[in-house]
């Protein structure tokens, strides 16, 4: 019937207005995400200096330099150690907290709020506070350790302690975030599964292993992926707490990228670092999705 109706009386085709609805987002995504990914790749093949019209083609020169650059490998190692430690500690602690704080009472509401509170504050500002909190002369941590006769440490100037300190601050900051997401996941596990497990003689541990963890798989996957991506982007606390020191012991990939791009203005080299970071994030996310899905029984 519609075929025979004259074209001018037909309503305007729907796709037309759909593209109008999506235009602002799609233009922004194209200009500020898709094109820059390609441009980062293109720039990484040049010696790129800001304000110049022509840029010297280097081919894979920047990558050659990068893979022979000890400072890059160091940044990669620092970032990997930070990411693995923060993700494991944060997610592990968050699961045990979420299971304990499952029921809603005034007490659990307070504890949840307290654990979540650091997530509300800016990581950079928190870095400023912690930098000072850990000061070996007037910081609270040193004073309390001294009061307990545990010795005095210059946490941020120590090559051995600087990175573990950043890891602790990272866990402190993001723990509550993971906990809240996991609590939401817990609410979605049907209560009858627990009743059935209890009837079958499962104790607390059995219920955790056979009901809670399988039921949380999707949420856990999400929390782990987010924690990992966050970890790989480590920058704010490095900038405000250690500046990458002592002697590059806490210099992360993004910190090194920032240094090359916005301090030395070596944009081609910084682009090569960004491109490598991009590939790492894609590969790590893909592997996590694959590994955590493979175990899925359903």
């Amino acid at each position: 019937m519609t075929v025979t109706s004259p074209p001018h009386s037909r309503r305007r085709p729907r796709w037309n207005s759909a593209w109008l609805f999506m235009a602002p987002s799609l233009i922004l995504i194209a200009v500020f995400i898709l094109e820059p990914i390609l441009q980062t790749g293109w720039m990484s093949l040049h010696e790129w200096t800001i304000g110049e019209d022509s840029h010297k083609w280097l081919g894979v020169g920047n990558y050659d330099r990068l893979f022979g650059d000890d400072r890059f490998w160091n940044a990669l190692r620092v970032t990997a150690e930070y990411t693995v430690a923060v993700t494991v500690l944060q997610v592990g602690l968050a699961v045990s907290l979420a299971v304990r704080l499952r029921r809603t009472t005034w007490f659990t509401t307070f504890v949840r709020g307290a654990f979540f509170f650091p997530a509300v504050a800016s990581l950079a500002v928190i870095g400023v506070v912690w930098h000072f909190l850990l000061d070996p002369q007037i910081g609270l941590v040193d004073a309390w350790l001294g009061a307990l006769h545990l010795g005095s440490y210059d946490f941020l100037q120590s090559e051995a302690l600087a990175l573990p300190t950043l890891i602790a601050v990272g866990v402190w900051k993001y723990l509550g975030f993971s906990m809240i997401v996991l609590l939401a996941g817990l609410q979605e596990i049907p209560a009858h599964l627990y009743e059935a497990a209890t009837l079958d003689g499962a104790g607390r541990l059995g219920r955790l292993r056979h009901v809670t963890l399988p039921g949380l798989r999707q949420t856990l996957l999400f929390v782990i992926v987010i924690a990992t991506i966050n970890g790989l982007q480590l920058f704010d606390v490095v900038y405000t707490m250690t500046g990458g020191g002592p002697v590059f012991h806490t210099e992360s990939i993004v910190m090194y990228l920032y240094q090359q791009g916005f301090v030395y203005f070596d944009l081609g080299y910084a682009s090569a670092i960004a491109w490598v970071l991009f590939v790492i994030i894609l590969v790590v996310s893909a592997v996590q999705l694959r590994v955590l899905r493979v175990n899925d029984v359903d």
Binding site: A18, M22, V31, L34, F115, G203, F235, S285
Partner: protein
């Protein structure tokens, strides 16, 4: 403790009554201890903030004399007035509000329109668009920051609000979350409105948006929080102190030599305060906002 609990019901029938009582008391005690540990841990989480407030409001002499004390012996507003003198705080607060608020509002608008088209309208290439958007979920802006910085530079937008706001005014996560929410709204409502002559815009504006207030509120909270606290982006896009946001300005102040600790902590407290107060007043909204990002399907 958990293994005890696991075996307790099975053993219970065979154990003499007095022993059972002891076991039950031990279990209760374990529960009390674990709650006590949780309370201590929860308070410990807050210590840095309490101490920050204390340092902001005490004299330097007091801090040096009693570094182990969490709370001031000698109160002073010198730090607050020093930071108010050294940093244009009114302006920084305004900048942070304009950046976080403006970006979030634009983002809610753009993302909800895109999500509406993806969830409700049929058009060729819909699955391709959805695929691209989900693909960009995994791309952090650190990866693209160099060309984006150059684009903003060539537009002459460095040190401007539009430079801070426009490149961040859409998010794949927002589109994705809103689309999931819109898909759950029954299409009967759209059909009824269309029979009454409503066009796409009216369906979006009058049906979908009003029914999506919870999802929009959640997205508002998580985006506003993320942008308020953002650091690398304003650090790169702005260089003049008058255009910086609070976190980026504070670190500028920190890097200057001879830091006044009370002033620095007062600045940190003022930077954290707006969101912290909002959180204390509306904890439920924050928790729901964050929780909604992880809900599956």
């Amino acid at each position: 403790m958990s293994t005890e609990a696991a075996t307790l019901p099975v053993l219970a029938q065979r154990i003499p009554t007095p022993v059972r009582h002891v076991l039950r008391i031990a279990q209760r005690l374990g529960a009390v201890l674990s709650w006590a540990a949780l309370t201590v841990a929860a308070l410990a989480m807050l210590v840095p903030f309490i101490w920050m407030l204390g340092v902001a409001l005490r004299t330097p002499a007091d801090l040096y004399a009693h570094p182990a004390s969490l709370w001031p012996h000698q109160w002073s507003l010198a730090g607050v007035s020093a930071i108010a003198r050294d940093l244009p705080f009114g302006r920084l607060l305004l900048n942070t509000f304009v950046f976080a608020g403006g970006t979030t509002l634009l983002l809610l608008w753009f993302d909800s329109m895109t999500a509406f088209a993806l969830a409700r309208l049929r058009f060729r290439g819909r699955s391709v668009v959805l695929f691209i958007i989900i693909g960009t979920l995994m791309v952090p802006f650190q990866v693209t920051i160099i060309p984006v910085f150059l684009t903003v530079f060539h537009l002459g937008w460095l040190d401007t609000y539009q430079g801070l706001i426009i490149p961040r005014a859409t998010s794949a996560l927002g589109i994705f979350l809103l689309r999931q929410f819109f898909l759950a709204i029954p299409t009967d409502l759209d059909d009824a409105a269309r029979i009454d002559g409503a066009n796409n815009w009216q369906v979006y504006r009058r049906i979908i948006l009003p029914l999506s207030k919870p999802a929009l509120a959640s997205l508002f909270v998580i985006q506003f929080m993320a942008l308020w606290n953002d650091f690398l982006w304003p650090l790169v896009i702005t260089s003049q102190i008058e255009m910086r946001t609070l976190p980026a300005a504070l670190t500028l102040f920190q890097s200057q030599g001879g830091v006044d600790h009370a002033a620095l902590m007062a600045g940190a407290a003022i930077s954290i305060a707006p969101l912290a107060i909002a959180f204390l007043l509306a904890q439920r909204f924050f928790i729901q906002g964050v929780a909604s990002t992880g809900v599956k399907n």
